[in-house]
Amino acid sequence: MNTAEAFDNQDAPENQTLEMLRVQDLHAFYGESHILHGVNFDVKRGELVTLLGRNGAGRSTTLKAIMNMVGRRTGSIIINGNETLRMKPHHIPRLGIGYCPEERGIFASLDVHENLLLPPTVRSGGMSLDEIYSMFPNLYERRNSPGTRLSGGEQQMLAMARILRTGARLLLLDEITEGLAPVIVQKLGEVLVQLKERGMTIVLVEQNFRFAAPLADRHFVMDHGQIVEEITAAQLPSRREHLNSMLGV
């Protein structure tokens, strides 16, 4: 399952695009319901951006549409220079993408170690097991427990940890702080900082704006299946009030 070699040429400097992800006029449908209405945004290499918005604004669907997990999609999704709209779902992660679903998706019939080893390597240069276990010492202690016996926080760390092993360079993280204790949220924040330092590109769907604000380079606000506003980290202090009212917090 190691497809790293096939992509080596794209990591060569002359092929390095500044852009990791470009989504253009993306529409997505679940059966008859039209969820995304022309989403446009881009993410530069090494950037951390957030998708903010109320529940039902289309943030999670945007991530799922990028992974080709929704019914039908139109528009354009370019990942690392590759148009992915016609790609099969299992080919998309092999472009170097790690996806962490909102419901975490920990497998009950696999123990922690097996959960961690499950996602196939998509590229070389992923974190080693030792590195991962030193980043998440709790997981090491509980490596032989069934995946779903872990606490919510530990499950979240496991869901993150297992996509770091695969060599993914673009992480799509859906509501990773949801329902977790402040101390765990803080730990996740530290992890994101470390991942950024390693040069990962991260798209963060987040409800917890106070968590996301200090981490992100740019924020995209979504409403009714569209991006309605882009706010850079520099603009943030002056726009905070406005953003709070938009998000209804």
Binding site: M1, H90, F107, S109, L117, T166
Partner: protein, 295 residues
């Protein structure tokens, strides 16, 4: 002569062995059904026919191509399993997005077609497949006479069950299968080729049925209907064991074979129905089955 609960030891042990051998077939077949159901979510009604195809392939392979028993034991599961993969790829996959009941209907229809076609050519009376020479005769254990072939079937079936258990519970491919059974969409999002995994899994389940068919060929008359009568009992075994667990399918299969065998000793009239009585009891007390997980 030693008596066990008023029955001669030799009779008791004889029926116990028969029960274990039947149980080994139940285990192999319910194992395949459980593996297929886990990932594809369809009840494979063609399982009995695929078992029958295994026996027939061994018979015809010997008759027309001179393929001996040992070669058949390896080749037939591969050929019939490969045929199963084609069935999955070109028929089952087309209806995978529909209600799983359609999968049940389709496999049932296919089973009827396989049976009907073979009946057309070979009739229903059944043919004999010679026991390989080395496995003829039996062993006198002192307290009972053990036919060598039955002992072999027991060993081979258990070894295959163990191999399957190992593949599913202890290997990376097995971890994919278990995870895919829980959430195949997320597996796709990790880059696992789930459609291929499904094809391989179906082929493997069918291969198990065909393996059981080859094992059965020297024991029972090889006839186009040999699978359908067995399948009903196997479904009852699966209901008793529950769909959730590989080890559960194996243990339930063997256990039900033993219960059936012992009923033949003590109350022969009930031997054909005892498994269904157990099924009713289990459904009343533990609807998810003995090893199944409550939904």
């Amino acid at each position: 002569m030693t008596m066990i609960f008023g029955v001669p030891m030799a009779v008791f042990m004889g029926q116990l062995t028969l029960g274990l051998v039947n149980g080994a077939f139940y285990a192999l077949l319910s194992l395949g059904l459980a593996v297929i159901f886990g990932l594809l979510k369809i009840v494979n009604f063609a399982h009995g026919a695929q078992y029958m195809l295994g026996a027939f392939a061994a018979l015809l392979g010997f008759r027309y191509l001179g393929i001996n028993y040992w070669l058949a034991l390896i080749l037939v599961p591969l050929v019939v399993g490969g045929f199963g993969m084609l069935m999955e790829r070109f028929l089952l996959r087309r209806i995978a997005h529909l209600d799983h009941l359609y999968g049940l209907l389709l496999t049932f229809g296919l089973a009827l077609i396989f049976e009907g076609t073979l009946i057309n050519f070979f009739g229903v009376s059944g043919a004999r497949y010679a026991t390989p020479e080395i496995l003829q005769g039996g062993l006198n254990l002192g307290f009972m006479f053990l036919p060598t072939y039955r002992a072999w079937v027991l060993v081979a079936a258990l070894a295959m069950c163990l191999f399957t258990w190992f593949m599913i519970e202890r290997t990376r491919l097995g971890a994919y299968l278990r995870a895919g059974t829980e959430n195949s969409q997320l597996m796709q999002a990790f880059g696992v080729n789930v459609p291929l995994l499904i094809t391989l899994t179906y082929g493997f389940g069918v291969g198990l049925a065909a393996f059981a068919g080859v094992l059965a060929a020297p024991l029972y008359p090889v006839s186009p209907t040999m699978g359908s009568s067995l399948l009903i009992v196997v479904f009852a075994v699966v209901v008793i064991g529950g769909m959730g667990s590989i080890l559960g399918a194996i243990l339930t299969g063997l256990g039900m074979g033993i219960i059936e065998g012992l009923t033949k000793v003590y109350y022969p009239e009930a031997s054909n129905t005892v498994i269904f009585l157990v099924m009713i009891l289990v459904l009343m007390l533990r609807p998810a089955g003995l090893f199944g997980k409550e939904a």
